[in-house]
Symmetry: C2
Subunit: 200 residues, 2 copies
Amino acid sequence: MGIVERKIRQKEEVRSSILKAAWQLVEKEGWQALSMRKIAEAIEYSAPVIYDHFQNKEAILLEFTKEGFRILNDRLDKAKSQFTDPPRQMEAMAYAYWHFAFENQEYYQLMYGLGMPSCEMVQEISELTTFTELIMSCLKDMIKISNNQQADPYLKFRTFWSMIHGLISINMMGKGNSINELNTMVLNDFLKGFIAGIKA
Amino acid sequence: MGIVERKIRQKEEVRSSILKAAWQLVEKEGWQALSMRKIAEAIEYSAPVIYDHFQNKEAILLEFTKEGFRILNDRLDKAKSQFTDPPRQMEAMAYAYWHFAFENQEYYQLMYGLGMPSCEMVQEISELTTFTELIMSCLKDMIKISNNQQADPYLKFRTFWSMIHGLISINMMGKGNSINELNTMVLNDFLKGFIAGIKA
DNA sequence: CTATATTTCCTAACAGCGTTAGCAAAGTTA
DNA sequence: TAACTTTGCTAACGCTGTTAGGAAATATAG
C-alpha cells in the first residue's frame, strides 16, 4: 500500500512549497519582512501548518543559511578546479566568493547575520566545515611549494576569510550595491599581499 | 521668567533618562530585547512619551551608533597620540580598534548592524567622517615616508578597515567572546603584511 | 483670582508579529 | 459501518512599534 509513501511525498511537497514561498518573499521584500503569516498566505494554508514542517521560524532561516553555504562551496569548488597552480586557485576562489556575495546578497546577509541570526546556529552548520577545508587545502598546497614551510594554514585561512568578509560587509553596509572599481582594487591589493606573504 | 528654561532642562532630563534606561536594558538583555515599552517602564512614563523625544526606535539606536563611533574615535585618537612614528601609530590604532570592539560588543554590534540597522543610516553618521580621516591621515604619513609614493591612501584605508572589521565580526559570529591567541596572531599577521606593503 | 489657552502625558487602540491550544472535519484502517 | 488517526483550521496569548484622542495639569492673560 503506497498510501504512506504518497503521504510522505505530499508532506515533502508542502515542506518545499514553504521554502519556495519563503524564498520568493525574501527576494521580493527582503528577509526582514518575512513572516510566518505571509508564508502561510502564499502556500494557501493557515500559519500553524508551517509548524508541522519546521520547528520555528529560525529553522527556516537556518535552512537557507545552509543552502547558501552549499551554493558558495559549489562556486568555490568550480573556481578552484579551473586551475592547478595553488596561488591561482586561491585567487580564483577569492573572486568566486566575492561574486557570490554580491550576486546573492540575500543569502549572504542571512549566512553572516547582517540582520541578526547565526549567533548560536553557527555550530549547526556542517557546511562550514566543507567551506573551511576547501580553502585550507589550497592554503596547505601553497605553503608546501613556498619558502615558508612553518606558516600556519589555519591562521592564513582566518586572515583570508576575515579580509574578504570584511570587505564585503563594509560594502553592503554602505550603498548596498556596487561591485565597483575601488573594491576590485582593494581586493586585488589584499590578494597580492596575501599570496606574496605565503610564498616568501 | 526662567520657566521656559526649566522646561527645556526637564525635557532634556527625560530625554537622557530614556537613553540611560535604554542602554541599561541593552547591557542587561542585549539590544535585540530592547523595546519601547520596557524603556517606558524603566523611566516610569508611558510609552508614547518617548515619541516626544525621539522620532522612533531607530532614532534611539542611531544615537547609540553615533555614541559608539565617538568612543571609538576617542580611543583611536589616544592610541595614535602615544607614538610619532606613523607605522607605530597605525599599529596602535589597530589594537585600539580591536580592543574597543571586544570591550564594547553591544556598541560594536549596533554600529555595524550585526543585528540589523545601519543600512540607510550610514550616511547620517557624521562621526564616520572623523573616523575615516583619523586613519587616513596616518596612512598618508606612512606613504609620505615610504618608497611607494603613488599608493592610494583611500584604497589602503579600505583594506585596513575591511580586514579588521572582518576579523572582529567573524569572531563575534562564532563563540561571541574570546580575544584569544589565534586572533592576536591573525591580526599581527595582517598588520605586518599591511605595513610592509605600504613601506615598500 | 479667574478664565482661557497650552502643554503634558495617559489610556486605548491598530496592525502586526511568533507561537500554542483545542477542536472539527477529513481520511484511514479494521 | 465504527473507531482511530491525521490534517488543518480558528482563536487566542503575549508580545512588538506606533498613533489618536482626550483628560488633567500647568502657564498665560484679563
